[in-house]
């Protein structure tokens, strides 16, 4: 990352002890973006307990424990903003996304509850549900979807697939005071995909 004034603290968020240690080492925070996520494309009949755990441990459990630790260790300043990267798939019925979509839908529910619990401290909690964004995670989709079909599917997006900056810009808005009256929002960001 270019520029100054930042530090990097790599941490395996699925490792409870490591997560607790990392939170302890932090200064108090004005904003947090929760963006840990993994994906698998799996038809429902191949679901196993292990595969549920693989997805939920990263996409849901680790994020919730991180919030819990930040709260318990008093690391969130008053008027802080928490922002979760969810997924448009949490609102749709895309075949083979049972575990991924469910884990993100669980996050959406958590955002609402956390927004209500943290409102007395003026801490805001919001999420964005992006459609398809060209990121390295998309390589997982290319692995199971033929590349020409992947490119063809972009026609379903009136504004085309998104770029990482498009999601980052929503994070800037929700972390800033420009969104000071917004909490519990689940924002759709999909280049018009769900207009039809």
């Amino acid at each position: 990352m270019p520029g100054e004034g930042h530090t990097a603290q790599p941490c395996d968020l699925t490792d409870d002890a490591a997560l607790q240690q990392m939170v302890l080492s932090l200064d108090s925070l004005d904003g947090v973006v929760f963006c840990a996520g993994v994906i698998t494309y799996l038809p429902a009949q191949f679901t196993t307990q292990a595969k549920i755990a693989d997805i939920f441990n990263v996409n849901f459990n680790s994020q919730i424990i991180l919030v819990q630790q930040l709260m318990k260790k008093k690391k969130l300043n008053k008027k802080a903003s928490l922002f979760f990267i969810s997924s448009l798939s949490s609102q749709l019925g895309i075949p083979a996304t049972l575990l991924y979509a469910s884990s993100k839908a669980a996050l959406n529910a958590a955002v609402k509850v956390l927004a209500a619990e943290l409102a007395p401290q003026k801490i805001r909690v919001n999420a964005v549900c992006p459609g398809i964004v060209r990121t390295p995670l998309i390589d997982a989709a290319k692995d199971v979807m033929e590349e020409d079909k992947f490119n063809e599917a972009e026609k379903e997006y009136p504004l085309g697939y998104g770029a990482p900056e498009d999601v980052a810009n929503t994070a800037i808005f929700y972390l800033s005071d420009a969104s000071r009256w917004a909490t519990g929002n689940i924002m759709i960001l999909d280049g018009g995909y769900t207009l039809k």
Partner: protein
Amino acid sequence: MEITTFVASFADLFDETPKSEIGEGTDFKQIEEWSSLLGLATIAMVDENYGVRISGDEIRESGTITDLFNLVKKKAAEK
């Protein structure tokens, strides 16, 4: 690794197509019931039964079920 077991597991992914219509030499993408979801089911079945990952492009490049079997066998041997 037996091809008869592989063909049986592959045929089991289909709900409508009679098992008698699915054999070693079948050009599986020409089966009417074939779909992208069955492609994902094939990837999941191979992962579950043989512990190897095949890709959508590799499925596209395979013609018959034997081609698919040989691909899985080669990948399993390289593990």
